[in-house]
């Protein structure tokens, strides 16, 4: 069974440029999460989807970040314009039983460097 797939693995951009990350969850997983992980810190939830609905986006910086999950399958996270402080690893995860049980399956992450 294929795991959670993310792309690109690495991205280097200059500040004020846009960037997009893509995630394909495990087949059949209804819940999809985007996390940001700064160096030396644990993951921070940005947004959670149940199928195509964003049920928790309270920590998504909506002035520059946007996300979508069309058709309730794969998802895209966009940053426009990027700032220096956005340098981090962006993690996608999926699950079938909701975050409360802790059974999240993570992709390898997309490492963003903003110069």
């Amino acid at each position: 069974e294929a795991g959670v797939v993310q792309s690109p693995r690495y991205k280097i951009i200059e500040k004020k440029q846009p960037v997009a990350f893509w995630c394909n969850p495990i087949s059949g997983h209804n819940t999809l999460y985007w996390y940001r992980q700064n160096l030396g810190q644990g993951p921070e939830l940005l947004i959670r989807y149940e199928n195509e609905e964003a049920v928790d986006d309270s920590q998504l910086p909506k002035d520059r970040f946007s996300a979508e999950r069309l058709k309730g399958v794969d998802s895209t996270l966009k940053i426009q314009p990027a700032e220096l402080g956005d340098s981090a690893v962006y993690l996608c995860a999926s699950s079938t039983r909701g975050e409360g049980t802790g059974e999240l399956f993570f992709g390898e992450g997309s490492r963003l460097t903003v110069l």
Binding site: A93, T101, G102, E103, E108
Partner: protein, 113 residues
Amino acid sequence: AQSVTQLDSQVPVFEEAPVELRCNYSSSVSVYLFWYVQYPNQGLQLLLKYLSGSTLVKGINGFEAEFNKSQTSFHLRKPSVHISDTAEYFCAVRDDSNYQLIWGAGTKLIIKP
């Protein structure tokens, strides 16, 4: 709000020696606790979890953790580490208010040959 503290940012240990990675959480009514492992250049994967029942939880790769309610701790242990255990280990607790996972900052396990 709940919180998780991993006191050690790095733990160096010799191969085949025992190891303990510490995790403390803020008290709550119900406690769901987790350890995740992140191997170099890989995603996070669930190592073990405590939801209820026996306070000693066994996970993959020979790891185990003990839930201690009085000390609000969930320390991870392995009796004999291998070079392949080199990774970063994250402790997490479920937040009762919104069912989100609250993560610790992680502990890097460094195995010395």
